[in-house]
Amino acid sequence: MNAKYLPLLATIVVFSALFITGGILYNNFFSTLVLGDILADNAFIIIAAIGTTFVILSGGIDLSIGSMIGFVGVVMANLDVVGWHPLASAGMMLCFGLAFGALQGLIIDFCEIQPFIVTLAGLFLLRGSCFMINLDSVPIRHPFVASFAEASIPLPGGGFLASSAIVMLIALAAAIVMAHFTRFGANIYAIGGDRVSAALMGVPMRRTTVSIYALGGFYSALGGVIYALYTSSGYPLAGTGNELSAIASVVLGGTVLTGGVGMVAGTLFGGMILGLIATLINFNGSLNGAWIMISGGVLLFLFIVMQRSLLSSFRLRGVG
Protein backbone atom coordinates (compact mmCIF):
# COMPACT_ATOMS: atom_id res chain seq x y z
CA MET A 1 0.00 0.00 0.00
CA ASN A 2 2.64 2.44 1.05
CA ALA A 3 5.02 2.26 -1.86
CA LYS A 4 2.23 2.89 -4.31
CA TYR A 5 1.21 6.18 -2.78
CA LEU A 6 4.73 7.44 -2.17
CA PRO A 7 5.13 9.41 -5.42
CA LEU A 8 1.73 11.05 -4.93
CA LEU A 9 2.62 11.92 -1.37
CA ALA A 10 5.89 13.42 -2.50
CA THR A 11 4.07 15.61 -5.00
CA ILE A 12 1.58 16.82 -2.44
CA VAL A 13 4.39 17.57 -0.02
CA VAL A 14 6.28 19.59 -2.62
CA PHE A 15 3.11 21.46 -3.52
CA SER A 16 2.30 22.26 0.08
CA ALA A 17 5.88 23.28 0.77
CA LEU A 18 5.83 25.67 -2.16
CA PHE A 19 2.47 27.10 -1.14
CA ILE A 20 3.58 27.64 2.42
CA THR A 21 6.84 29.20 1.26
CA GLY A 22 4.83 31.60 -0.85
CA GLY A 23 2.71 32.40 2.14
CA ILE A 24 5.79 33.18 4.19
CA LEU A 25 7.43 35.27 1.52
CA TYR A 26 4.46 37.33 0.45
CA ASN A 27 1.42 38.80 2.05
CA ASN A 28 -1.90 37.55 0.80
CA PHE A 29 -0.31 34.59 -0.88
CA PHE A 30 -1.55 31.88 1.41
CA SER A 31 -5.21 32.33 0.57
CA THR A 32 -7.98 30.62 -1.28
CA LEU A 33 -7.99 33.58 -3.66
CA VAL A 34 -4.57 32.71 -4.94
CA LEU A 35 -5.42 29.02 -4.95
CA GLY A 36 -8.60 29.63 -6.87
CA ASP A 37 -6.72 31.74 -9.38
CA ILE A 38 -4.09 29.11 -9.95
CA LEU A 39 -6.79 26.50 -10.49
CA ALA A 40 -8.69 28.69 -12.90
CA ASP A 41 -5.65 29.79 -14.91
CA ASN A 42 -4.27 26.32 -15.28
CA ALA A 43 -7.49 24.37 -15.54
CA PHE A 44 -7.21 23.90 -19.27
CA ILE A 45 -3.77 22.47 -19.21
CA ILE A 46 -4.45 20.28 -16.22
CA ILE A 47 -7.40 18.81 -18.07
CA ALA A 48 -5.20 18.04 -21.05
CA ALA A 49 -2.56 16.65 -18.73
CA ILE A 50 -5.09 14.32 -17.16
CA GLY A 51 -5.77 12.84 -20.56
CA THR A 52 -2.04 12.53 -21.15
CA THR A 53 -1.69 10.71 -17.86
CA PHE A 54 -3.66 7.83 -19.28
CA VAL A 55 -1.45 7.71 -22.34
CA ILE A 56 1.75 7.84 -20.33
CA LEU A 57 0.47 5.25 -17.86
CA SER A 58 0.20 2.82 -20.72
CA GLY A 59 3.79 3.50 -21.70
CA GLY A 60 3.04 5.81 -24.60
CA ILE A 61 3.26 9.55 -25.20
CA ASP A 62 1.12 12.19 -26.91
CA LEU A 63 2.75 15.23 -28.44
CA SER A 64 -0.35 16.57 -30.14
CA ILE A 65 -2.00 17.97 -27.00
CA GLY A 66 -1.01 21.60 -27.40
CA SER A 67 -1.98 21.71 -31.04
CA MET A 68 -5.36 20.21 -30.25
CA ILE A 69 -5.97 22.99 -27.75
CA GLY A 70 -5.19 25.59 -30.38
CA PHE A 71 -7.22 23.84 -33.07
CA VAL A 72 -10.30 23.47 -30.94
CA GLY A 73 -10.23 27.14 -30.02
CA VAL A 74 -9.82 28.28 -33.59
CA VAL A 75 -12.69 26.13 -34.85
CA MET A 76 -14.96 27.20 -32.04
CA ALA A 77 -14.22 30.87 -32.75
CA ASN A 78 -15.00 30.44 -36.41
CA LEU A 79 -18.19 28.54 -35.68
CA ASP A 80 -19.17 31.32 -33.33
CA VAL A 81 -18.84 33.80 -36.16
CA VAL A 82 -21.26 31.67 -38.17
CA GLY A 83 -23.73 31.64 -35.32
CA TRP A 84 -23.20 28.34 -33.53
CA HIS A 85 -23.81 28.17 -29.83
CA PRO A 86 -20.51 27.56 -28.03
CA LEU A 87 -21.85 24.45 -26.35
CA ALA A 88 -22.77 22.94 -29.69
CA SER A 89 -19.38 23.60 -31.19
CA ALA A 90 -17.79 22.35 -27.99
CA GLY A 91 -19.70 19.12 -28.29
CA MET A 92 -18.58 18.68 -31.85
CA MET A 93 -14.95 19.35 -30.98
CA LEU A 94 -15.09 16.82 -28.19
CA CYS A 95 -16.22 14.22 -30.66
CA PHE A 96 -13.47 15.31 -33.00
CA GLY A 97 -10.88 14.97 -30.24
CA LEU A 98 -12.12 11.48 -29.52
CA ALA A 99 -11.95 10.47 -33.16
CA PHE A 100 -8.58 12.06 -33.83
CA GLY A 101 -7.09 10.39 -30.80
CA ALA A 102 -8.56 7.06 -31.82
CA LEU A 103 -7.03 7.41 -35.27
CA GLN A 104 -3.62 8.10 -33.75
CA GLY A 105 -4.01 5.09 -31.51
CA LEU A 106 -4.96 2.91 -34.44
CA ILE A 107 -1.95 3.97 -36.49
CA ILE A 108 0.31 3.39 -33.51
CA ASP A 109 -1.00 -0.09 -32.91
CA PHE A 110 -1.67 -1.36 -36.41
CA CYS A 111 1.29 0.12 -38.25
CA GLU A 112 3.51 -0.46 -35.25
CA ILE A 113 5.00 3.03 -35.45
CA GLN A 114 6.24 4.64 -32.29
CA PRO A 115 3.80 6.95 -30.51
CA PHE A 116 6.37 9.74 -30.48
CA ILE A 117 6.42 10.01 -34.25
CA VAL A 118 2.72 9.48 -34.85
CA THR A 119 1.65 12.10 -32.35
CA LEU A 120 4.37 14.38 -33.68
CA ALA A 121 2.74 14.21 -37.07
CA GLY A 122 -0.55 14.88 -35.29
CA LEU A 123 1.02 17.96 -33.73
CA PHE A 124 2.04 19.32 -37.13
CA LEU A 125 -1.28 18.47 -38.70
CA LEU A 126 -3.39 20.18 -36.07
CA ARG A 127 -1.15 23.20 -35.66
CA GLY A 128 -0.91 23.62 -39.39
CA SER A 129 -4.67 23.40 -39.71
CA CYS A 130 -4.93 26.17 -37.12
CA PHE A 131 -2.84 28.42 -39.29
CA MET A 132 -4.72 27.50 -42.39
CA ILE A 133 -7.95 28.61 -40.84
CA ASN A 134 -6.79 31.74 -39.04
CA LEU A 135 -3.59 33.60 -38.69
CA ASP A 136 -4.83 35.91 -35.97
CA SER A 137 -6.86 35.63 -32.88
CA VAL A 138 -10.61 35.55 -33.38
CA PRO A 139 -12.90 36.53 -30.53
CA ILE A 140 -15.87 34.48 -29.45
CA ARG A 141 -18.69 36.85 -28.82
CA HIS A 142 -21.61 34.63 -27.86
CA PRO A 143 -23.16 35.77 -24.56
CA PHE A 144 -22.74 32.26 -23.19
CA VAL A 145 -19.04 32.86 -22.83
CA ALA A 146 -19.56 35.79 -20.50
CA SER A 147 -22.00 33.91 -18.30
CA PHE A 148 -19.65 30.95 -18.26
CA ALA A 149 -16.81 33.16 -17.11
CA GLU A 150 -18.91 34.63 -14.36
CA ALA A 151 -20.22 31.40 -12.96
CA SER A 152 -18.25 30.40 -9.94
CA ILE A 153 -18.53 28.94 -6.49
CA PRO A 154 -17.31 31.07 -3.63
CA LEU A 155 -14.74 29.47 -1.36
CA PRO A 156 -14.18 30.12 2.34
CA GLY A 157 -11.56 32.80 2.73
CA GLY A 158 -12.63 34.99 -0.12
CA GLY A 159 -11.54 32.92 -3.05
CA PHE A 160 -13.54 31.64 -5.96
CA LEU A 161 -13.71 28.37 -7.75
CA ALA A 162 -14.15 29.48 -11.34
CA SER A 163 -16.23 27.55 -13.83
CA SER A 164 -13.16 26.31 -15.64
CA ALA A 165 -11.83 24.90 -12.40
CA ILE A 166 -15.18 23.26 -11.70
CA VAL A 167 -15.15 21.57 -15.07
CA MET A 168 -11.60 20.46 -14.42
CA LEU A 169 -12.50 18.94 -11.08
CA ILE A 170 -15.42 17.06 -12.63
CA ALA A 171 -13.16 15.80 -15.40
CA LEU A 172 -10.65 14.75 -12.80
CA ALA A 173 -13.27 12.86 -10.83
CA ALA A 174 -14.35 11.04 -13.97
CA ALA A 175 -10.75 10.20 -14.73
CA ILE A 176 -10.16 8.86 -11.25
CA VAL A 177 -13.19 6.62 -11.54
CA MET A 178 -12.07 5.41 -14.94
CA ALA A 179 -8.53 4.75 -13.86
CA HIS A 180 -9.25 2.94 -10.63
CA PHE A 181 -12.72 1.52 -10.90
CA THR A 182 -13.07 0.17 -14.38
CA ARG A 183 -11.56 -2.80 -16.18
CA PHE A 184 -10.34 -0.37 -18.79
CA GLY A 185 -8.28 1.44 -16.17
CA ALA A 186 -6.85 -1.80 -14.82
CA ASN A 187 -5.90 -2.78 -18.35
CA ILE A 188 -4.07 0.51 -18.85
CA TYR A 189 -1.96 -0.05 -15.77
CA ALA A 190 -1.29 -3.60 -16.87
CA ILE A 191 -0.07 -2.61 -20.33
CA GLY A 192 2.15 0.06 -18.85
CA GLY A 193 3.51 -2.26 -16.19
CA ASP A 194 4.53 -5.11 -18.47
CA ARG A 195 3.31 -5.13 -22.02
CA VAL A 196 4.16 -8.74 -22.78
CA SER A 197 2.58 -10.07 -19.61
CA ALA A 198 -0.53 -7.98 -20.15
CA ALA A 199 -1.04 -9.56 -23.55
CA LEU A 200 -0.53 -13.02 -22.09
CA MET A 201 -2.98 -12.26 -19.35
CA GLY A 202 -5.63 -11.60 -21.92
CA VAL A 203 -5.77 -7.82 -22.06
CA PRO A 204 -7.30 -6.77 -25.41
CA MET A 205 -4.32 -4.82 -26.75
CA ARG A 206 -5.65 -3.09 -29.81
CA ARG A 207 -8.96 -2.04 -28.32
CA THR A 208 -7.31 -0.71 -25.21
CA THR A 209 -4.58 1.18 -27.07
CA VAL A 210 -7.03 2.89 -29.39
CA SER A 211 -9.26 3.79 -26.47
CA ILE A 212 -6.38 5.24 -24.49
CA TYR A 213 -5.40 7.64 -27.24
CA ALA A 214 -9.03 8.43 -27.94
CA LEU A 215 -9.46 9.35 -24.30
CA GLY A 216 -6.33 11.49 -24.47
CA GLY A 217 -7.68 13.26 -27.52
CA PHE A 218 -11.01 13.84 -25.79
CA TYR A 219 -9.36 15.43 -22.77
CA SER A 220 -7.09 17.58 -24.92
CA ALA A 221 -10.14 18.78 -26.80
CA LEU A 222 -11.89 19.51 -23.51
CA GLY A 223 -8.85 21.49 -22.43
CA GLY A 224 -9.08 23.40 -25.69
CA VAL A 225 -12.77 24.13 -25.10
CA ILE A 226 -12.08 25.46 -21.63
CA TYR A 227 -9.21 27.57 -22.89
CA ALA A 228 -11.34 29.04 -25.63
CA LEU A 229 -14.16 29.87 -23.21
CA TYR A 230 -11.73 31.22 -20.65
CA THR A 231 -9.95 33.53 -23.04
CA SER A 232 -13.12 34.04 -25.12
CA SER A 233 -11.12 33.73 -28.29
CA GLY A 234 -9.62 31.32 -30.73
CA TYR A 235 -5.90 31.87 -31.02
CA PRO A 236 -3.94 29.77 -33.51
CA LEU A 237 -0.84 29.78 -31.37
CA ALA A 238 -2.70 28.68 -28.28
CA GLY A 239 -1.27 25.70 -26.57
CA THR A 240 2.21 25.98 -28.07
CA GLY A 241 4.56 24.16 -25.80
CA ASN A 242 1.71 22.86 -23.69
CA GLU A 243 2.55 19.28 -24.51
CA LEU A 244 5.77 19.79 -22.58
CA SER A 245 4.01 21.34 -19.61
CA ALA A 246 1.48 18.56 -19.65
CA ILE A 247 4.17 15.90 -19.65
CA ALA A 248 6.01 17.74 -16.90
CA SER A 249 2.80 17.91 -14.86
CA VAL A 250 2.34 14.19 -15.28
CA VAL A 251 5.89 13.39 -14.20
CA LEU A 252 5.75 15.79 -11.28
CA GLY A 253 2.47 14.16 -10.35
CA GLY A 254 4.26 10.93 -9.70
CA THR A 255 3.64 9.06 -12.91
CA VAL A 256 6.62 7.29 -14.36
CA LEU A 257 7.26 8.03 -18.03
CA THR A 258 7.79 4.37 -18.79
CA GLY A 259 4.27 3.65 -17.59
CA GLY A 260 2.57 1.39 -15.10
CA VAL A 261 3.03 3.50 -12.02
CA GLY A 262 1.25 6.69 -11.08
CA MET A 263 -2.07 8.24 -10.27
CA VAL A 264 -4.29 10.59 -12.18
CA ALA A 265 -4.87 12.64 -9.05
CA GLY A 266 -1.17 13.33 -8.93
CA THR A 267 -1.35 15.17 -12.22
CA LEU A 268 -3.62 17.74 -10.61
CA PHE A 269 -0.95 18.53 -8.08
CA GLY A 270 1.79 18.34 -10.66
CA GLY A 271 0.03 20.94 -12.76
CA MET A 272 -0.61 23.05 -9.71
CA ILE A 273 3.07 22.96 -8.80
CA LEU A 274 3.92 24.40 -12.20
CA GLY A 275 1.18 27.00 -11.77
CA LEU A 276 2.42 27.82 -8.29
CA ILE A 277 5.96 28.34 -9.48
CA ALA A 278 4.77 30.70 -12.18
CA THR A 279 2.64 32.61 -9.66
CA LEU A 280 5.48 32.81 -7.16
CA ILE A 281 7.72 34.25 -9.77
CA ASN A 282 5.11 36.74 -10.87
CA PHE A 283 4.59 37.87 -7.30
CA ASN A 284 8.30 38.52 -7.05
CA GLY A 285 8.56 40.66 -10.11
CA SER A 286 12.30 40.81 -10.15
CA LEU A 287 12.72 37.24 -11.29
CA ASN A 288 11.80 36.38 -14.80
CA GLY A 289 10.47 33.53 -16.84
CA ALA A 290 13.86 31.91 -16.93
CA TRP A 291 13.47 30.78 -13.36
CA ILE A 292 10.29 28.94 -14.22
CA MET A 293 12.10 26.89 -16.79
CA ILE A 294 15.15 26.21 -14.69
CA SER A 295 13.22 25.26 -11.61
CA GLY A 296 11.01 23.08 -13.76
CA GLY A 297 14.08 21.29 -15.01
CA VAL A 298 15.53 20.87 -11.55
CA LEU A 299 12.27 19.53 -10.14
CA LEU A 300 11.95 17.13 -13.05
CA PHE A 301 15.48 15.89 -12.47
CA LEU A 302 14.83 15.26 -8.79
CA PHE A 303 11.55 13.50 -9.45
CA ILE A 304 13.02 11.34 -12.18
CA VAL A 305 15.89 10.21 -10.00
CA MET A 306 13.49 9.51 -7.16
CA GLN A 307 11.21 7.52 -9.43
CA ARG A 308 14.13 5.50 -10.73
CA SER A 309 15.32 4.48 -7.31
CA LEU A 310 11.78 3.70 -6.20
CA LEU A 311 11.13 1.49 -9.19
CA SER A 312 14.41 -0.37 -9.02
CA SER A 313 14.05 -1.00 -5.31
CA PHE A 314 10.73 -2.64 -5.64
CA ARG A 315 11.51 -4.56 -8.72
CA LEU A 316 14.75 -5.94 -7.41
CA ARG A 317 13.18 -7.34 -4.30
CA GLY A 318 10.99 -9.58 -6.35
CA VAL A 319 13.81 -10.99 -8.40
CA GLY A 320 15.33 -14.06 -6.70
Binding site: I61, I113, F124, A290
Partner: protein
Protein backbone atom coordinates in the same frame (compact mmCIF):
# COMPACT_ATOMS: atom_id res chain seq x y z
CA UNK B 1 16.02 5.34 -51.56
CA UNK B 2 12.80 7.00 -50.53
CA UNK B 3 14.28 10.37 -49.54
CA UNK B 4 15.88 10.72 -52.92
CA UNK B 5 12.63 9.94 -54.68
CA UNK B 6 10.71 12.27 -52.40
CA UNK B 7 13.16 15.07 -53.03
CA UNK B 8 13.05 14.49 -56.75
CA UNK B 9 9.25 14.50 -56.76
CA UNK B 10 9.08 17.72 -54.79
CA UNK B 11 11.59 19.44 -57.03
CA UNK B 12 9.85 18.17 -60.12
CA UNK B 13 6.53 19.55 -58.94
CA UNK B 14 8.30 22.83 -58.20
CA UNK B 15 9.77 23.02 -61.64
CA UNK B 16 6.34 22.34 -63.05
CA UNK B 17 4.49 24.93 -61.03
CA UNK B 18 7.01 27.72 -61.18
CA UNK B 19 9.18 27.70 -64.24
CA UNK B 20 12.41 29.34 -63.37
CA UNK B 21 12.49 27.57 -60.05
CA UNK B 22 15.86 26.17 -60.77
CA UNK B 23 17.23 29.39 -62.06
CA UNK B 24 20.48 30.18 -60.33
CA UNK B 25 22.11 33.55 -60.67
CA UNK B 26 25.17 35.26 -59.33
CA UNK B 27 24.69 38.37 -57.21
CA UNK B 28 27.51 40.16 -55.43
CA UNK B 29 29.87 37.36 -56.25
CA UNK B 30 27.65 34.71 -54.72
CA UNK B 31 25.21 32.12 -55.95
CA UNK B 32 21.53 32.86 -55.48
CA UNK B 33 18.43 30.94 -56.29
CA UNK B 34 15.70 28.76 -54.88
CA UNK B 35 17.79 25.67 -54.89
CA UNK B 36 20.60 27.46 -53.11
CA UNK B 37 18.05 28.81 -50.69
CA UNK B 38 16.91 25.34 -49.77
CA UNK B 39 20.46 24.27 -49.06
CA UNK B 40 21.10 27.47 -47.16
CA UNK B 41 18.15 27.24 -44.82
CA UNK B 42 18.35 23.51 -44.32
CA UNK B 43 21.88 23.64 -43.07
CA UNK B 44 21.29 24.12 -39.34
CA UNK B 45 18.56 21.47 -39.30
CA UNK B 46 20.78 19.12 -41.25
CA UNK B 47 23.56 19.55 -38.71
CA UNK B 48 21.27 18.79 -35.82
CA UNK B 49 19.78 15.89 -37.73
CA UNK B 50 23.22 14.37 -38.27
CA UNK B 51 23.90 14.37 -34.56
CA UNK B 52 20.43 13.06 -33.92
CA UNK B 53 20.94 10.24 -36.38
CA UNK B 54 23.98 9.11 -34.44
CA UNK B 55 22.15 9.14 -31.13
CA UNK B 56 19.11 7.41 -32.58
CA UNK B 57 21.44 4.74 -33.93
CA UNK B 58 22.26 3.78 -30.36
CA UNK B 59 18.57 3.40 -29.69
CA UNK B 60 18.47 6.74 -27.93
CA UNK B 61 17.11 10.20 -28.65
CA UNK B 62 18.10 13.76 -27.79
CA UNK B 63 15.29 16.23 -27.22
CA UNK B 64 17.56 18.89 -25.79
CA UNK B 65 19.21 20.07 -29.01
CA UNK B 66 16.99 23.15 -29.26
CA UNK B 67 17.99 24.16 -25.76
CA UNK B 68 21.66 23.60 -26.55
CA UNK B 69 21.27 26.02 -29.46
CA UNK B 70 19.65 28.55 -27.13
CA UNK B 71 22.42 28.27 -24.56
CA UNK B 72 25.13 28.55 -27.19
CA UNK B 73 23.50 31.68 -28.60
CA UNK B 74 23.38 33.28 -25.18
CA UNK B 75 26.99 32.37 -24.40
CA UNK B 76 28.22 33.79 -27.69
CA UNK B 77 26.44 37.09 -27.12
CA UNK B 78 27.73 37.27 -23.59
CA UNK B 79 31.36 36.71 -24.49
CA UNK B 80 31.25 39.07 -27.42
CA UNK B 81 30.01 41.79 -25.13
CA UNK B 82 32.71 40.79 -22.68
CA UNK B 83 35.28 41.41 -25.34
CA UNK B 84 36.76 37.97 -25.96
CA UNK B 85 38.42 37.38 -29.33
CA UNK B 86 35.82 35.98 -31.65
CA UNK B 87 37.72 32.93 -32.60
CA UNK B 88 38.07 31.99 -28.94
CA UNK B 89 34.35 32.52 -28.55
CA UNK B 90 33.77 29.95 -31.23
CA UNK B 91 35.76 27.47 -29.19
CA UNK B 92 33.88 28.41 -26.04
CA UNK B 93 30.60 27.82 -27.82
CA UNK B 94 31.71 24.35 -28.83
CA UNK B 95 32.88 23.77 -25.29
CA UNK B 96 29.41 24.56 -24.05
CA UNK B 97 28.08 21.99 -26.46
CA UNK B 98 30.50 19.44 -25.07
CA UNK B 99 29.34 20.19 -21.54
CA UNK B 100 25.72 19.63 -22.51
CA UNK B 101 26.68 16.41 -24.25
CA UNK B 102 28.51 15.23 -21.17
CA UNK B 103 25.46 15.94 -19.04
CA UNK B 104 23.12 14.02 -21.30
CA UNK B 105 25.63 11.22 -21.67
CA UNK B 106 26.02 11.01 -17.93
CA UNK B 107 22.28 10.67 -17.39
CA UNK B 108 21.84 8.05 -20.07
CA UNK B 109 25.03 6.00 -19.91
CA UNK B 110 25.86 6.20 -16.23
CA UNK B 111 22.56 6.75 -14.43
CA UNK B 112 20.81 4.55 -16.96
CA UNK B 113 17.85 6.87 -17.38
CA UNK B 114 15.72 6.46 -20.47
CA UNK B 115 17.00 8.85 -23.14
CA UNK B 116 13.65 10.50 -23.81
CA UNK B 117 13.31 11.38 -20.15
CA UNK B 118 16.96 12.22 -19.56
CA UNK B 119 17.17 14.73 -22.41
CA UNK B 120 13.79 16.17 -21.42
CA UNK B 121 15.46 17.72 -18.39
CA UNK B 122 17.85 19.85 -20.40
CA UNK B 123 15.10 20.55 -22.90
CA UNK B 124 12.89 22.07 -20.21
CA UNK B 125 15.58 23.99 -18.35
CA UNK B 126 18.00 24.85 -21.16
CA UNK B 127 16.16 27.84 -22.52
CA UNK B 128 15.83 29.15 -18.99
CA UNK B 129 19.58 28.86 -18.63
CA UNK B 130 19.96 30.81 -21.84
CA UNK B 131 17.69 33.53 -20.52
CA UNK B 132 19.69 33.56 -17.29
CA UNK B 133 22.90 34.09 -19.19
CA UNK B 134 21.29 36.90 -21.12
CA UNK B 135 20.57 38.52 -17.78
CA UNK B 136 24.08 37.98 -16.46
CA UNK B 137 25.81 40.71 -18.32
CA UNK B 138 23.03 43.08 -17.45
CA UNK B 139 22.18 44.43 -20.86
CA UNK B 140 18.70 44.50 -22.28
CA UNK B 141 19.85 44.33 -25.86
CA UNK B 142 21.47 41.00 -26.53
CA UNK B 143 22.47 41.74 -30.09
CA UNK B 144 26.03 41.85 -31.33
CA UNK B 145 28.18 42.44 -34.35
CA UNK B 146 30.85 39.98 -35.34
CA UNK B 147 32.58 39.91 -38.68
CA UNK B 148 33.67 36.33 -38.10
CA UNK B 149 30.18 35.10 -37.45
CA UNK B 150 28.76 37.36 -40.10
CA UNK B 151 31.09 35.70 -42.52
CA UNK B 152 29.91 32.28 -41.46
CA UNK B 153 26.32 33.24 -41.84
CA UNK B 154 26.10 35.16 -45.08
CA UNK B 155 29.62 35.23 -46.39
CA UNK B 156 30.88 33.31 -49.33
CA UNK B 157 34.07 31.70 -50.50
CA UNK B 158 34.20 32.01 -54.20
CA UNK B 159 30.69 31.46 -55.42
CA UNK B 160 29.57 29.18 -52.64
CA UNK B 161 28.03 30.43 -49.40
CA UNK B 162 30.41 29.91 -46.51
CA UNK B 163 27.89 28.07 -44.43
CA UNK B 164 27.48 25.42 -47.06
CA UNK B 165 31.20 24.86 -47.01
CA UNK B 166 31.04 24.73 -43.22
CA UNK B 167 28.21 22.25 -43.40
CA UNK B 168 30.06 20.12 -45.89
CA UNK B 169 33.15 20.23 -43.71
CA UNK B 170 31.26 19.09 -40.63
CA UNK B 171 29.53 16.42 -42.63
CA UNK B 172 32.90 15.31 -43.92
CA UNK B 173 34.36 15.23 -40.43
CA UNK B 174 31.44 13.19 -39.15
CA UNK B 175 31.67 10.86 -42.07
CA UNK B 176 35.33 10.29 -41.41
CA UNK B 177 34.62 9.72 -37.75
CA UNK B 178 31.78 7.31 -38.31
CA UNK B 179 32.81 5.48 -41.42
CA UNK B 180 36.59 5.69 -41.51
CA UNK B 181 36.97 4.49 -37.96
CA UNK B 182 35.16 1.62 -36.36
CA UNK B 183 33.02 4.02 -34.35
CA UNK B 184 30.12 3.73 -36.76
CA UNK B 185 30.16 -0.03 -36.53
CA UNK B 186 30.30 0.10 -32.75
CA UNK B 187 27.45 2.63 -32.59
CA UNK B 188 25.24 0.51 -34.82
CA UNK B 189 26.08 -2.61 -32.81
CA UNK B 190 25.19 -1.01 -29.51
CA UNK B 191 21.90 0.16 -30.94
CA UNK B 192 21.19 -3.09 -32.71
CA UNK B 193 21.74 -5.53 -29.88
CA UNK B 194 23.29 -4.17 -26.73
CA UNK B 195 23.64 -7.56 -25.03
CA UNK B 196 25.57 -8.93 -27.98
CA UNK B 197 27.62 -5.74 -28.12
CA UNK B 198 28.71 -6.27 -24.53
CA UNK B 199 29.69 -9.83 -25.21
CA UNK B 200 31.57 -8.79 -28.30
CA UNK B 201 33.78 -6.62 -26.15
CA UNK B 202 32.34 -3.20 -26.99
CA UNK B 203 32.21 -0.72 -24.14
CA UNK B 204 28.58 0.22 -24.60
CA UNK B 205 28.70 2.92 -21.96
CA UNK B 206 31.52 4.79 -23.62
CA UNK B 207 29.93 4.50 -27.03
CA UNK B 208 26.67 5.98 -25.79
CA UNK B 209 28.55 8.80 -24.11
CA UNK B 210 30.30 9.52 -27.38
CA UNK B 211 26.99 9.58 -29.24
CA UNK B 212 25.48 12.22 -26.97
CA UNK B 213 28.69 14.26 -27.10
CA UNK B 214 28.66 14.28 -30.88
CA UNK B 215 24.99 15.20 -30.98
CA UNK B 216 25.47 18.14 -28.64
CA UNK B 217 28.49 19.31 -30.63
CA UNK B 218 26.46 19.30 -33.83
CA UNK B 219 23.75 21.24 -32.06
CA UNK B 220 26.40 23.70 -30.84
CA UNK B 221 27.56 24.30 -34.40
CA UNK B 222 23.97 24.84 -35.48
CA UNK B 223 23.66 27.27 -32.59
CA UNK B 224 26.66 29.23 -33.83
CA UNK B 225 25.16 29.53 -37.31
CA UNK B 226 21.70 30.46 -36.04
CA UNK B 227 23.13 33.06 -33.66
CA UNK B 228 25.13 34.48 -36.53
CA UNK B 229 21.98 34.66 -38.64
CA UNK B 230 20.07 36.75 -36.16
CA UNK B 231 22.96 38.71 -34.60
CA UNK B 232 21.25 38.21 -31.30
CA UNK B 233 20.47 35.85 -28.52
CA UNK B 234 16.85 34.79 -28.31
CA UNK B 235 16.75 31.74 -26.09
CA UNK B 236 12.99 31.49 -26.13
CA UNK B 237 12.42 31.06 -29.81
CA UNK B 238 15.72 30.18 -31.49
CA UNK B 239 15.68 26.70 -32.89
CA UNK B 240 12.13 26.11 -31.72
CA UNK B 241 10.93 22.66 -32.72
CA UNK B 242 14.24 21.96 -34.45
CA UNK B 243 14.49 18.67 -32.59
CA UNK B 244 11.25 17.55 -34.15
CA UNK B 245 12.43 18.47 -37.62
CA UNK B 246 15.71 16.70 -36.96
CA UNK B 247 13.99 13.51 -35.82
CA UNK B 248 11.76 13.65 -38.86
CA UNK B 249 14.77 14.09 -41.12
CA UNK B 250 16.37 11.01 -39.59
CA UNK B 251 13.23 8.94 -39.99
CA UNK B 252 12.69 10.07 -43.55
CA UNK B 253 16.33 9.23 -44.18
CA UNK B 254 15.60 5.66 -43.23
CA UNK B 255 16.72 5.58 -39.64
CA UNK B 256 14.62 3.68 -37.16
CA UNK B 257 13.85 4.98 -33.70
CA UNK B 258 14.50 1.46 -32.47
CA UNK B 259 18.19 1.81 -33.14
CA UNK B 260 20.50 0.30 -35.73
CA UNK B 261 21.73 1.71 -38.98
CA UNK B 262 22.95 5.28 -39.26
CA UNK B 263 22.38 6.87 -42.63
CA UNK B 264 24.38 10.08 -42.65
CA UNK B 265 23.85 11.04 -46.24
CA UNK B 266 20.19 10.08 -46.29
CA UNK B 267 19.58 12.08 -43.15
CA UNK B 268 20.91 15.19 -44.83
CA UNK B 269 18.59 14.44 -47.73
CA UNK B 270 15.77 14.10 -45.23
CA UNK B 271 16.54 17.57 -43.93
CA UNK B 272 16.60 18.83 -47.49
CA UNK B 273 13.23 17.25 -48.17
CA UNK B 274 11.73 19.04 -45.20
CA UNK B 275 13.23 22.35 -46.24
CA UNK B 276 12.31 21.82 -49.86
CA UNK B 277 8.73 21.37 -48.78
CA UNK B 278 8.78 24.68 -46.98
CA UNK B 279 10.43 26.52 -49.85
CA UNK B 280 8.14 24.95 -52.41
CA UNK B 281 5.11 26.11 -50.56
CA UNK B 282 6.53 29.62 -50.44
CA UNK B 283 7.32 29.81 -54.11
CA UNK B 284 4.14 28.11 -55.23
CA UNK B 285 2.03 30.92 -53.93
CA UNK B 286 0.30 28.81 -51.30
CA UNK B 287 0.07 30.70 -48.06
CA UNK B 288 2.97 29.79 -45.77
CA UNK B 289 0.49 28.54 -43.20
CA UNK B 290 0.11 25.43 -45.28
CA UNK B 291 3.67 24.50 -44.45
CA UNK B 292 2.98 22.52 -41.33
CA UNK B 293 0.09 20.59 -42.73
CA UNK B 294 1.97 19.61 -45.85
CA UNK B 295 4.91 18.56 -43.70
CA UNK B 296 2.63 16.45 -41.57
CA UNK B 297 1.00 14.77 -44.54
CA UNK B 298 4.33 13.94 -46.15
CA UNK B 299 5.67 12.51 -42.91
CA UNK B 300 2.57 10.41 -42.42
CA UNK B 301 2.81 9.02 -45.93
CA UNK B 302 6.48 8.15 -45.49
CA UNK B 303 5.76 6.44 -42.19
CA UNK B 304 2.81 4.51 -43.48
CA UNK B 305 4.86 3.32 -46.41
CA UNK B 306 7.63 2.20 -44.09
CA UNK B 307 5.20 0.18 -42.00
CA UNK B 308 5.24 -3.46 -42.86
CA UNK B 309 1.85 -4.26 -41.43
CA UNK B 310 0.20 -1.68 -43.58
CA UNK B 311 2.04 -2.78 -46.70
CA UNK B 312 1.00 -6.36 -46.12
CA UNK B 313 -2.60 -5.40 -45.52
CA UNK B 314 -2.62 -3.32 -48.69
CA UNK B 315 -1.12 -6.09 -50.82
CA UNK B 316 -3.66 -8.51 -49.45
CA UNK B 317 -6.48 -6.16 -50.33
CA UNK B 318 -5.18 -5.23 -53.76
CA UNK B 319 -3.80 -8.62 -54.71
CA UNK B 320 -6.83 -10.40 -53.38
CA UNK B 321 -4.75 -13.16 -51.91
CA UNK B 322 -4.10 -13.91 -48.28
CA UNK B 323 -0.51 -13.51 -47.18
Amino acid sequence: MWPLIALAVILAVDGFISPGFFHVRVVEGRLFGNVIDILYRAMPTALVALGMAIVIGTKGIDLSVGSVIAIVGAVITWRIHAGDPHFVILLIALGVGILCGLWNGFLVAVLDIQPIIATLILMVSGRGIGLMINLLYGGTNPSFTSPLLQGLSVGHIGLIPTRLILGAAIFGALWLLIRRTALGLFLESVGGNSAAADLAGINARLIKFAAYLICALCAAWAGVVLAADTHTSDPVSVGLYIELDAILAVVIGGGSLAGGRIYLGMTVLGALVIQALTTSILTSGLPPEYNLVVKAVVVIIVLLLQSENLRNALYARLGGRKR
